[in-house]
Assembly symmetry: C2
């Protein structure tokens, strides 16, 4: 019995130790920690293994589902993390990783993140965040001002108003977009007379109240998939997310948009919101926002701009005008973990009308009491970390001009890369970059020429083969682990059909022209793999049938 008590005391002491004794600098974890502070790029370079183990192999390391009974030494666990997690993660900061929207981080983000984590504030309420609440309000106001350009008086009036918030800080763009449409829906069905509003009475009664048969959200086919989730979640149904075709430059077709507005009117379906895109996820194009603002006003609906990617273009004197009209949006989404270079998990939505978020205001007895400045009364999420601090840091340290430089650099680099692709005999540019995103595919110029002459059926066959080629190319490049582009499927105007294309996002300032050239070189090497060569021989054979008589083998043979 006394022995049992000794064990219990020893366990308790170990437990306290976990909470009170930091890792020794010479412990494995201490050493990693130190290595990361000294040189994160070097750490990632050294510890992330380039060569891909198959996902199935990796899964074997994460297969045990029983929670360990006994505690493990931190050092032992750290070895596991180093070998099985860090080594097998993705080097998203590598300058050759240009396929997705994750880039290198400014160095100061790491120590500041540690301060944030150590403080462990909870932004849902002032009682667990104190100065972090006014700080987050300031960040939201700064972004609001970037978009809407209000004056000092306006912000002095609203920034710290206890009953309102100029926007909502979110875990990402999806929650930001959902919040925007939620606000739009609740404002459309605001309390009036006997009707107590949709928040209280629900969607069915609300539609009856306004006497309409349905509710729709309009956006171009390039809209982010989060809008589909929002339409589902909010009870509209995906049928009522009206996808409008785009013009040759991936921008919403305004004529078709107007036609859809009219169709909805005829069918007694209320347009809830029109969503403009400032930087489509796949091609980086910007919708004609000013013209869309006109249409939203004409048909009386909320105008939301999804600027999750492109918002920070507003920092650039040279390129700001691309987003002209955004200041007329009722709400705007901007992701901080994208072009504000903040670590993953930071999005925002700002509202033109400083009282808009009242439409989703909520309270509870133990927090979020009326009159408190708790930000949680105006967010979809509850408890939230102090990530706004990192946005605050970025805006303060990098400054408007620093971000401008980053934006200008990325757009310039995209144009350079587009020119390289155009000049290359083996690649076809499939979307002209407006911001810093472009798409292209492996498709030798000779095949491009044949595609123009081909019959519709021949074109379909050729493109199907090229789709397979580009899919394999992207997979093998990813698995080789040296460079990375992503892939998507886009319906491209000249072909009138959906194609598999390679997608490039140029936001990492450490990506050089040489790296871009090396991406194309590596891709040219990869297409020599037997499986792809086999496909290209079929492409050649098909090309040979196009027009009269056989032509010189244009593609695979030419390399």
């Amino acid at each position: 019995m006394p022995k049992h008590r000794d064990v219990a005391r020893a366990n308790l002491e170990n437990l306290y130790r976990i909470f009170t004794v930091p890792e020794a600098p010479d412990s494995t974890l201490g050493e990693i920690d130190e290595a990361i502070s000294r040189d994160v790029a070097g750490f990632l370079q050294t510890h992330i293994v380039a060569l891909e183990r198959s996902l199935e192999d990796i899964e074997a390391d994460f297969f045990n589902t029983a929670i360990p009974e006994e505690p493990t030494f931190v050092s032992e666990y750290t070895e596991f993390v180093k070998e099985n997690l860090v080594a097998q993660s993705v080097h998203t900061a590598a300058p050759g990783f240009i396929g997705h929207m994750t880039s290198a981080l400014p160095y100061f983000m790491l120590p500041l993140s540690r301060i944030m984590t150590a403080l462990n504030q909870n932004l849902v309420k002032v009682e667990t965040s104190k100065a972090f609440t006014p700080m987050e309000r300031q960040v939201l106001a700064m972004l609001h001002r970037l978009v809407y350009r209000g004056g000092d008086t306006f912000y002095a009036r609203w920034i710290h108003d206890s009953r309102h918030a100029l926007g909502a800080f979110c875990s990402g763009g999806t929650i930001a977009n959902v919040t925007a449409l939620w606000v739009a829906r609740n404002r459309l069905f605001a309390p009036a007379g006997d009707f107590r509003g949709i928040a209280q009475e629900g969607l069915v009664r609300s539609l009856k109240h306004l006497g309409c048969d349905g509710l729709a959200v309009l956006v171009s086919r390039r809209g982010h998939y989060s809008l589909g989730k929002a339409a589902d979640l909010l009870g509209l149904g995906r049928d009522n997310l009206v996808l409008i075709d785009t013009d040759d430059d991936n921008r919403i077709d305004l004529k078709l948009l107007r036609a859809e507005f009219l169709r909805l009117q005829e069918e007694n379906i209320r347009p809830l919101a029109l969503v403009g895109i400032a930087g489509t996820t796949e091609t980086g194009n910007v919708d004609p926002l000013a013209a869309m603002a006109d249409l939203a006003a004409e048909f009386g609906c909320h105008f939301h701009v999804d600027a999750a990617w492109g918002g920070p273009t507003l920092f650039s004197d040279r390129h700001r005008s691309l987003l002209s009209g955004i200041e007329r949006a009722d709400s705007v989404t901007i992701d901080a973990h994208k072009q504000l270079y903040v670590p993953m998990g930071a999005g925002m939505v700002v509202f033109k009308d400083p009282t808009a978020l009242s439409a989703i205001e909520h309270h509870a007895a133990y927090i979020l009491r009326h009159g408190s400045k708790d930000l949680g009364s105006h967010t979809l999420e509850g408890s939230r970390p102090g990530k706004a601090m990192l946005v605050h840091a970025g805006l303060s340290i990098i400054g408007r001009k620093g971000y401008e430089l980053l934006i200008d650099l990325g757009i310039a680099r995209a144009k350079t890369f587009a020119a390289m692709i155009r000049q290359h005999p083996d690649f076809e540019l499939t979307s002209v970059p407006e911001l810093n995103i472009l798409t292209y595919r492996y498709c030798p110029q000779a095949v491009q020429q044949k595609l123009v002459l081909a019959t519709s059926l021949q074109r379909t066959h050729l493109n199907a083969l090229l789709d397979q080629v580009n899919l394999l190319l992207q997979k093998e490049e990813r698995e080789a682990g040296k460079t990375f582009v992503s892939r998507t499927r886009l319906r491209l105007a000249p072909y009138g059909q959906e194609l598999t294309v390679l997608r490039v996002v140029l936001a990492n300032p450490l990506t050089t022209d040489e790296i871009l050239a090396s991406v194309l070189e590596e891709q040219c090497r990869i297409v020599q793999h037997p499986e792809i060569r086999e496909l290209m021989l079929q492409v050649d054979a098909l090309c040979a049938e196009i027009e009269d008589g056989p032509t010189a083998p244009a593609c695979a043979g030419a390399r």
Copy 2:
């Protein structure tokens, strides 16, 4: 012109420096960083100012809404952070901060968080997370197993299934609860015959399809406020969140619950979900889960358990049975940033049926393709950080037995504190702790006795005064900054009216009995403040009127 080019080049070089040159160890930020790794408790102790500046004063430091044009030196910014943000934050890790659900963190969480931040993985897709995806799947499976106790064969079958996920990792419990109810809704209105499901067709057509007039969610009055948001968001309306009264122990009243089920049946309103609570936010009580599972089965609705707080009680051999019946829930929410001691921003929801999340499955052309193991196809959120790594670390390093110790310790301490309150002449225990949360109020025993004898009107008056006393007490204690309890308003059975009570959460293992005693001592000092004394004199006067004739001054005078 060449000068202009020099400036541009210098700017560019500074920009690269931000991304490539780490903070020097002797820089301000480097020093803070080092100080935090060496001794976070000491750092927080030294740098967080205890005495409260008013929020209005703090706001003055966060008032400028113009994004700075020019970059700032990191060192300069760090000084600002230290003086204006860190100093004025809340010491949530302090052992005397027992008012909310944020506790001290195990030390290893900090360096591991830094690794997570440096890797900057995005869990929405394998292409930006690789090993982090199987790791997150493993964490979800571990929590699933903790709740549902499936066997090895079950988990081997489902853990890494590309078409399914055993749960969703979320930014917090709110998103977890919303996800659970979203899944419940979409499963109730699953595609059938011509009906393509609610995700596609929306709520109005779905109700027609099932021929019901509405949709309701049932939960006790102690339900978390996120459920109200969910009812609003999903289109049900808050009217259809049916709040059931509780018994004297803050558990849902089963008779009233059954009566509401029958009422809904009569009104042709379909019960979408019954929500049981395992650890109410305000009082920490656990609903009778097994009996609720029976009712949910009888009336054919989804049974969700919100175990955001209490879920980890399952680690404890001694206390696990309190949650008995949870294994029959269709879905369960558990927050990792609460009793798994992970930094802010980590929640989870697990589903009994491994195919349940198919109800909200979604895809996109550039990611989340059919057949991929991307976790983003089954989450409400899009891009997400690799926080699951910290849960993985906690489960591995602390182990089941370590968490058991933490749980047992908290519950034991709550019982100790409850006894201290009961024995104290000046306080009244207002909810008996079942887990590690309790409520009480300042109400001297003599007043308690009078309250029993008082008429209904007298009781109302007395309680109104006591509400003011406790409100002021909580505010002044918070502002003094030495210790912290929160407050809420609860309708308590013996009084039949809503009262302001003090709320205590005992999850920090560093909170000792001495600290608890000092909280009561401090509160006894605070009630001597003139404003509160004045109120207590009124209480005394009212007490004197109760029953026949004057009684000895029982309260304020007695101290």
